[in-house]
Symmetry: C2
Amino acid sequence: MKLSTRGEYGLRAMFDLALRYGAGPISLKSISERQDISSNYLEQLISVLRKSGLVKSVRGSQGGYFLGKKPADITVGDIIRVLEGPIAPVDCVSEDQTDLCHRAESCIARSVWKKVKDSINEVIDSITLEDMIQESENVKNNNPTHFI
Amino acid sequence: MKLSTRGEYGLRAMFDLALRYGAGPISLKSISERQDISSNYLEQLISVLRKSGLVKSVRGSQGGYFLGKKPADITVGDIIRVLEGPIAPVDCVSEDQTDLCHRAESCIARSVWKKVKDSINEVIDSITLEDMIQESENVKNNNPTHFI
DNA sequence: TCTATATCGTAGCAATTTGGTAGGGTATTG
DNA sequence: CAATACCCTACCAAATTGCTACGATATAGA
């Protein structure tokens, strides 16, 4: 029951961009150094994020990446789903369910997985990059809201 | 963000045993046929469940498996953790965390993963096999509580 | 005591996923 | 026109997944 590093690195990179939102294009190199992620690998991940519209890019010298929307309009769920595919503990509760098993409508196990899925989605869809910025400022000011 | 088939098959097998709780040992063969799971593969999974104490076994002719505790005393979380290891979207929020990164205490991404983890655990630890039996009886009686 | 029935245990294996590396192409700035 | 930086694709080793295979051991019943 784990995320791959794609979602993990992806969120870190997006948060890095969120902290610098409005400051012009941020080079991949600087993100990969700050976040300690291989730049070649991060490039693949950010390419997916770009194709989804979550980030935009400027090519050439002084180019780089920046968020496609305000930090308040990007949720953790947006990022994870783009990089990891739909959240689904098992295939039969996936959004793009192609292989629904014959006993689906009465399967009790399935209803358990659905509850798990809904609960994960509720969490990741309720946290925006702006929320994370706020929390990081609270931590900086020694006022850790996450302990309340 | 997926479970492997280990957790999926394991829960189905345990639910199968729960439905037959008190009826003596249930053969692996009958479970694997009802649940449509390869018996050789299921044998490996149920062996792990046995070593954890969640199921007990009787060897020899007329032998089989049965729950180690009442259905009401076994949660979905017990089963999943035994078969899949600790629930943790990323390693740094795992229970048996050996590799805590240096910025752990102020890492905002980590606090997101912790919320996801807590939310999953809350769901799977609150559902027992007995709850699943109840739900299956409601479905049978055309009184689907999961639609309310 | 024999035999059928089951659980136990371990080894092996093909396919897929993961987590990258490598390297060349293209666009832009100065 | 050169340096910078994004863009794209191919490749690869290691780990994981989802099994199969097969022999050993234990027990019930004839």
